[in-house]
Symmetry: C2
Subunit: 194 residues, 2 copies
Amino acid sequence: MPKLGMEPIRREALVKATIAEIGANGTLDVTVSQIAKRAGMSSALAHHYFGGKEQILVAAIRHTMSVYAAEVRGALVMARGDAERVEAIVRASFSPRNFRAETVAAWMNFYVLAQRSEQAGRLLGIYHTRLRSNLRHALRGLVGGRSGDVAARVAALIDGVYLRQSLGGGAPDGEAAERAVMCYVQLEIDKGRS
Amino acid sequence: MPKLGMEPIRREALVKATIAEIGANGTLDVTVSQIAKRAGMSSALAHHYFGGKEQILVAAIRHTMSVYAAEVRGALVMARGDAERVEAIVRASFSPRNFRAETVAAWMNFYVLAQRSEQAGRLLGIYHTRLRSNLRHALRGLVGGRSGDVAARVAALIDGVYLRQSLGGGAPDGEAAERAVMCYVQLEIDKGRS
DNA sequence: TTTTATTGATTGACGAGTCAATAAAAACAG
DNA sequence: CTGTTTTTATTGACTCGTCAATCAATAAAA
């Protein structure tokens, strides 16, 4: 009973199932069958639509990143002034949708995948560049010439908090994480003033 | 031609080969055969001495951590005063021996392993606790009651720098990394003074 | 009848762990 | 000291399971 136009639906289901499965198992060693089962189809169909396992994983990274990017954009349009822009970027990183045990676990695994997959590395690289560029831009008015360095450190701090969260096991506390990072940002801003 | 007392030699060779292999391949998906081959023996012997793959991996984590811990201790005994103690801890994290592409890659993979292996998780947890405790102790005299929070942030920043290094691909610059982290520490210290 | 959707069955490769066999050192017996 | 036994070191060959990828077959739209 083939209903037409299934392709986009199946693809989306597979991508979501992939993230869920990686998050649940805490590893990239998820089989195509597991993913397909979670998405409610046969593994053969997954191969049919994606061609291979790596392409499914890459699609999952792309999806995770695009969700994050959308959140950042959304928060940025609401921001008035540079300080709020920085806060918007940081907040997006720790929003309930992104800063969630499952997503954090998947994210860490993507970093590992990036070490051997050309495509995954490129994608993560784009995320890094964009995050730093966004931060640097917003920080320029607040810390002046140090904006590049500060942006790098803030970005590293955000990633570090993710890393620590992935270990902690406990339920993620996005607000606390956001506060910690913003606390550091404030320090840098104050330094410029004094 | 069995020379006696091979066990410790073989174990050490296997542990080192494991780290090298993980670093070279950028993944935990290294076969016991690969590791054994790099260590110059058969895979059967690796199983003989370690019992299983996970135990080899755990031993590799333990080794990496003990090298790091030794470095921290060494730097700490030389330190005069709290400020130097903090610097010693940070410097140890980015010393040439630890902050090296191969080791960084292995470290990232250990974090991922920790998500599914009971033992690996416990070991990484110990590293976390110790790092924070060391930092907190040294920071107490410098930032007073905020030492707990500051220690957490410094620790996260260190991990974040590692994470970013693992992606960057380029040769690690330990001095720059150390400077970046110490720069933040200085900010926190100054805050207390003003 | 061509295209799209879908799967069960199969293939082929690979890898963890086991085992039996070989060899040399050490321990022990007389 | 010799001869035998035990212990330690070591590996090639093998088993068993898993998994990515393929294929042939089925069925419903167009």
